[in-house]
């Protein structure tokens, strides 16, 4: 049997709105994944360190603060610096459409906005893990 997919979920930056990420955490757990939740107020450096120690397949970031164009590219840069550029990053929260395109262009795998069904998130992560297995 294939071991469970490991996902790191983190709130990036000064943003205390964690209801969404907790709903996602439960949905991924119920889908059979191992969810490592870091909690609030994470820096890019802390998220990269956690992703490394925890050897995760995917990183899920939640932002509702509006700071995504500053913080997410910084996170991607730190991940690259530390040799974790192969770990895909998914972003969720309040991200305007025009910013979504910018984040995808910077290397974010997927952006999920309000109204996303948890099934879509589960499916996206599973597909990613399967592809990783083949590659």
């Amino acid at each position: 049997m294939r071991p469970p997919i490991r996902v790191l979920l983190a709130k990036l930056g000064l943003d205390g709105h964690d209801r969404g990420i907790k709903v996602v955490a439960s949905a991924l757990r119920d889908a059979g994944m191992e969810v490592i939740y870091t909690g609030l107020w994470q820096t890019p450096e802390a998220i990269a360190a956690a992703a490394g120690d925890e050897d995760v397949d995917v990183i899920g970031i939640s932002l509702l603060s509006g700071a995504h164009l500053t913080l997410v590219p910084r996170l991607l840069a730190v991940l690259e610096e530390q040799g974790f550029s192969d770990v895909p990053v998914i972003v969720g929260g309040i991200i305007p459409e025009e910013d979504t395109a910018l984040l995808l262009a910077r290397g974010v795998m997927k952006v999920f906005g309000p109204g996303t069904s948890t099934e879509d998130i589960v499916e996206c992560i599973r597909r990613q893990a399967r592809e990783h297995l083949v590659s």
Binding site: D30, V35, T38, A49, E54, V56
Partner: protein, 269 residues
């Protein structure tokens, strides 16, 4: 990353990188052990480590404060310039196999520190309060060269004792109002713990809990009168220095006993 087992060649390069102190190789090898690689194939290949780690188990019921105590101990140990690895277990769902590994939430202050390694583990259905791979992973962390390894069990109440055989010093964490003398006299963890911490000692009933635990150990548990019972408030750091001193004292005592007597804990299972 973790969804694929490494081939023999890449396992070889992982071992090589591990020997050169690669933290990522350590992390990757932990995944291999957790995913079912035989630790007998990996751990001896590393050769002897630089030293010996003090391995401390943290056990007790869900919500007693094990992770918060681990975070407080990390701060204490970092002040003394000791490196620390934490292995924090949380339960897997018996229905889906999934798990919410939430112990990291408690360690905010220590989040980025090259001398602190923190790994969250699902028990993946194991019954003893820790993952089956815990002993192998602990050995791997020891070979990596950490000074102290903290092994945190899932929330357990009475008889999940698997961690006893893995660590040098076992700390049981309880809270005020979590039991009376009869509760403490029941068989299980209290028979094998070296130190008992009454955490959240700023809550009412803490003094009574410390007193009744000490009394029970002295009066009703032959040979257990020297078990240390201490109050602490892990969220503020109150009492944590004393907890660490008790752990070190217990470790030294254990060393002395081992040279004089047969192994202290011969569990029946």
């Amino acid at each position: 990353m973790n969804s694929t087992m490494p081939s023999r060649e890449s396992l070889g390069s992982l071992v090589e990188n591990f020997r050169h102190g690669s933290r990522r190789a350590l992390s990757r090898l932990i995944t291999c052990l957790q995913d079912g690689y035989d630790s007998a194939l990996i751990v001896p290949a590393m050769g002897p480590g630089d030293g010996r780690a003090l391995k401390v188990g943290l056990t007790g019921s869900a919500g007693a404060g094990k992770s918060t105590l681990a975070a407080a101990l990390i701060q204490q140990l970092r002040q003394a310039n000791q490196s620390v690895a934490v292995l924090a277990c949380d339960p897997a769902s018996p229905l889906t196999g999934g798990a919410l590994l939430g112990d990291r939430v408690r360690m905010q202050a220590a989040a980025v520190d090259a001398s602190v390694f923190w790994r969250s583990l699902s028990t993946r259905g194991a019954a003893g309060g820790v993952s089956d791979s815990t002993a192998g992973i602990t050995a791997l962390m020891e070979q990596f060269g950490f000074d102290v390894i903290l092994v945190e069990t899932i929330g357990v109440g009475q008889d999940q004792l698997a961690v006893r055989g893995i660590v040098d010093v076992l700390v049981m964490v309880v809270t005020p109002a979590s039991g009376d003398q009869i509760q403490w006299q029941k068989a299980g963890l209290l028979e094998v713990a070296d130190i008992i911490i009454v955490n959240k000692a700023d809550l009412p009933g803490a003094d009574e809990a410390v007193g009744s635990l000490r009394d029970t150990l002295r009066v009703a548990s032959p040979g257990r009168g020297n078990v240390v019972v201490l109050p602490a408030v892990a969220t503020t750091g109150s009492g944590i220095l004393e907890v660490w001193q008790a752990i070190e004292a217990s470790y030294e005592q254990m060393g002395r006993r081992q040279t004089e007597l047969p192994p202290k804990h011969e569990l029946l299972r």
